[in-house]
């Protein structure tokens, strides 16, 4: 079924906008904003605010309506469905099914110095009340920290015979994260070791579909908990080991 934005009543199509046009404010500035939104296909445009915030710029807040809708059923995507287990269940599952510790190596790669996200997933203290991977008796987790070059990450993963590699990418300006993430995939493929690892990426602008597109096995976005990651890793590594 097609849905439209709901402002005050079903299907009224109301959307709120704000934007800045590089024009000097004048009596007609409001109409420039209005007609601009009309050109974009909206109607019933109400310019709530139109102020010159500088001799060169005019700022707008507006509401307008659209007749466009979208059918949510037609939106298809690769949504990660992890069966989240609890801390003890994850450990028992690894012990029982894998029969050894699961080895994980993680890092914020290349120029990215943001470690809070990967720390939240890997470090003892964890995130939002959930322990990090280091705390799991059945997981052997190494967090390599920030600005780790891909080559160094791979070297360590091979040395430790890791089951999984976790990378974090937070800075996304000019799509720098795409560049870094692709670099890692290419390196793994060049070395012929792509298939040896469950490859996971996370960050505030990451989602599973995007991660899959880039060639990763899974992607985790904002508010991920270590438990989700641990559950996924346990199940995926066991599955690959053919022991599930």
């Amino acid at each position: 079924m097609i849905v439209r934005p709901y402002g005050d009543t079903r299907d009224d199509g109301v959307i709120q906008f704000s934007f800045t046009l590089p024009i000097t404010h004048s009596p007609k500035a409001a109409d420039v904003g209005k007609q601009f939104l009309e050109k974009l296909g909206f109607h019933d445009v109400a310019i709530a605010e139109c102020t010159g915030i500088d001799p060169r710029f005019t700022f707008y807040v507006a509401y307008a309506r659209t007749d466009q809708g979208i059918d949510p059923d037609e939106v298809k995507g690769d949504y990660l469905e992890v069966e989240v287990m609890d801390f003890y269940a994850v450990n028992d599952f690894i012990k029982e099914k894998l029969g050894r510790k699961l080895v994980v190596v993680g890092a914020a790669i290349e120029t990215d110095a943001h470690t809070v996200g990967i720390d939240a997933i890997m470090n003892m203290k964890g995130f939002a009340g959930h322990y990090g991977l280091e705390r799991y008796p059945q997981i052997d987790a190494l967090n390599m920290g920030s600005q780790v070059p891909c080559t160094q990450l791979l070297k360590t993963a091979l040395e430790r015979n890791a089951d999984a590699i976790l990378v974090s990418q937070v800075v996304t300006q000019r799509n720098i994260h795409v560049q870094h993430l692709t670099q890692l995939i290419e390196l793994l493929e060049a070395e012929g070791v792509r298939e040896r690892f469950v490859l996971v990426v996370g960050g505030p602008r990451i989602n599973n579909a995007f991660a899959k597109e880039l060639g990763y096995d899974a992607g985790f976005g904002p508010r991920t908990t270590p438990l989700e990651v641990a559950s996924f890793l346990a199940q995926e590594v066991v599955r690959r080991a053919g022991k599930a």
């Binding site: 709901y6 005050d8 009543t9 709120q16 109400a46 709530a48 605010e49 102020t51 700022f59 807040v61």
Partner: protein
């Protein structure tokens, strides 16, 4: 606040004395008059409901029909007719509407019987109200009571079913009170529309059926949330007591109900309004409903900085009227507002002074603090910030009921998402600043204490002046809200009658006798939602 601002108690006493005298003076007028709506409300209490074939409520038809009898009160002839014809109140009214029966003076020999029966019926009507109040008490005890301040938001789609959807969404976002805004100018209708409605205009018709539908929606969501969700509407305008009655049986929990709002803002005749508000308040008092007074409105027409004292004066007057109708302190949602121009240096400091003064003058009342409206900008981001400072002022001065401001106040009645954002704003500010007021004391002789002292002494001056000239004359001179009203003018004047010597209406006494007391009590949402949740461990 343990250490509040120092207030001159002798001024407070003078204010209360003057307000009492003002109200007593008006009470003499009230006790000497009845109105169309008073009589219609009386019939409703007996059980008369419904409309005729052209959608005129039966109570209007009957009262219209009985116009000549009104000075004596409609209930005696009406009950007499019921008795004579062996009909229920509803059957009698329907028959009158069809022109099959007619009301007439009750012959002396049947008076005593009719009056006795009327008294019985009035008591039965009041017992129904009591039943509803008991039900509220039971539900609150069972479902749970929100923390103060109550988060109060409006819905105003015009369609009661959409309103219900939005009200439930608001409750889930954290609202404790839902007010259904009325369609524009319903105040001026001299009848209450009937049945479920879906076509309001900037609001939804206040009808008994709409009350019922919304009540059910809120009970449902309140049970889901473990927090009794209160429902509010408007016992205001030309049908004040009738709507108060409907609220009392449909379990509304709050009612906008001001002794002077209709006069000032709707140009309703003042002789009419004062009489109407009295019965409305008796009903609200009985039903355990919290009234909200409308002083905030003054500051939309008068300047909040200069005329802040009129709010204080009016709060004392509304308190005095409320006491005369038997409302308990906790039922007095005295109005005040955050309306000083945000461009004023130290605006928040002044607002804290004003709000703190109200809090201290009416410590046991449930002040209702109204958000910025007049100076809300088209820049919704900035509006959201002004609302945050309102929320801050509210929690910092310990207000009980916070009507939340909307970032789109200058634009449209709230969208679903506006309400969500506004509740999130308030919840954050309340929880993050909850105990700040316990942490500080106000410096004596500072801006705050001076401003508060100034407001109070001006309010006393005004009250004493109003006592001298009389409230009618004061309203005539525009002493509240800068709006002038003619005591003989305005709408609904034709519906006021001097009571005859034998005016009879047992409803007033029935409403006073054996009234329950105290607010409903229930478990706080407590540890589960308020404390600990976000604290890093």
């Amino acid at each position: 606040m343990t250490d509040a601002i120092t207030i001159d108690q002798s001024l407070v006493d003078r204010a209360r004395t003057a307000a009492a005298d003002i109200a007593d003076d008006i009470q003499r007028h009230i006790d000497a008059h009845t109105t169309d709506s008073t009589e219609r409300a009386t019939l409703r209490l007996l059980g008369v409901t419904g409309v005729n074939e052209i959608d005129v409520p039966l109570v209007n038809v009957v009262v219209e029909h009985a116009r000549a009898l009104l000075p004596g009160g409609v209930i005696r002839p009406f009950v007499d007719l019921m008795m004579q014809k062996g009909k229920s109140a509803q059957e009698a009214a329907e028959a009158i509407a069809r022109g099959e029966l007619a009301l007439a003076e009750v012959p002396a020999e049947r008076r005593a019987a009719a009056e006795a029966r009327a008294t019985e019926l009035a008591r039965e009507g009041v017992a129904r109200i009591d039943g509803v109040r008991e039900r509220r008490n039971a539900l609150v005890a069972e479902i749970g009571e929100p923390l103060r301040p109550y988060v109060y938001v409006i819905v105003a789609t015009g369609n009661i079913h959409e309103d219900a959807v939005q009200a439930q969404a608001a409750a889930r976002a954290g609202a404790d009170v839902i007010a259904v805004i009325r369609t524009t100018a319903q105040s001026l209708l001299d009848y209450v529309p009937y049945g479920e409605t879906t076509e309001g205009f900037g609001g939804t018709y206040a009808t008994q059926e709409n009350f019922r539908l919304m009540r059910a929606a809120l009970d449902e969501v309140g049970t889901e949330l473990g927090r009794y969700i209160r429902l509010c509407n408007y016992a205001s305008g030309l049908c004040m007591p009738e709507i108060a009655y409907m609220g009392s049986v449909e379990r509304l929990d709050m009612m906008l109900n001001d002794s002077m709002y209709g006069i000032i803002f709707r140009n309703i005749n003042m002789r009419r309004t004062f009489v109407d508000q009295y019965l409305a308040r008796l009903l609200n008092a009985r039903a355990g409903i919290i009234i909200n007074t409308g002083e905030d409105n003054y500051l939309t027409t008068a300047d909040a900085f200069e005329k802040g004292y009129t709010v204080i004066a009016s709060d004392f007057i509304n308190e005095a009227f409320a006491e005369r109708a038997g409302l308990e302190k906790w039922q007095m949602g005295l109005g005040h507002a955050f309306e000083i121009n945000p461009a004023t240096p130290d605006q928040v400091v002044y607002q804290v002074a004003d709000a703190q003064l109200v809090r201290q003058l009416f410590p046991e009342a449930s002040p209702k603090y109204m958000p910025p409206t007049k100076y809300m900008p088209g820049d919704i981001f900035q509006g959201h910030i002004i609302d945050a400072m309102f929320n801050f002022t509210g929690i910092f001065t310990g207000q009980d009921i916070m009507l939340l401001g909307m970032l789109t106040e200058a634009l449209h009645t709230p969208l679903l998402q506006d309400r969500y954002l506004s509740i999130k704003n308030a919840k954050y500010v309340f929880e993050s600043c909850r105990h700040l007021r316990d942490e500080v004391r106000f410096k004596s002789g500072g801006i705050i204490e001076k401003r508060a002292g100034d407001l109070l002494s001006r309010a006393v001056d005004q009250l004493e002046h109003v006592r001298e000239v009389g409230l009618f004359a004061a309203l005539e001179k525009g002493e509240f809200a800068d709006v002038e009203r003619d005591p003989e003018g305005g709408r609904g004047a034709e519906g006021v009658f001097k009571r005859a010597a034998d005016y009879f209406n047992p409803v007033f006494a029935a409403l006073r006798d054996g009234r329950m007391s105290g607010p409903p009590v229930g478990p706080a949402p407590g540890t589960r939602t308020a404390a600990g949740e976000g604290r890093p461990s």
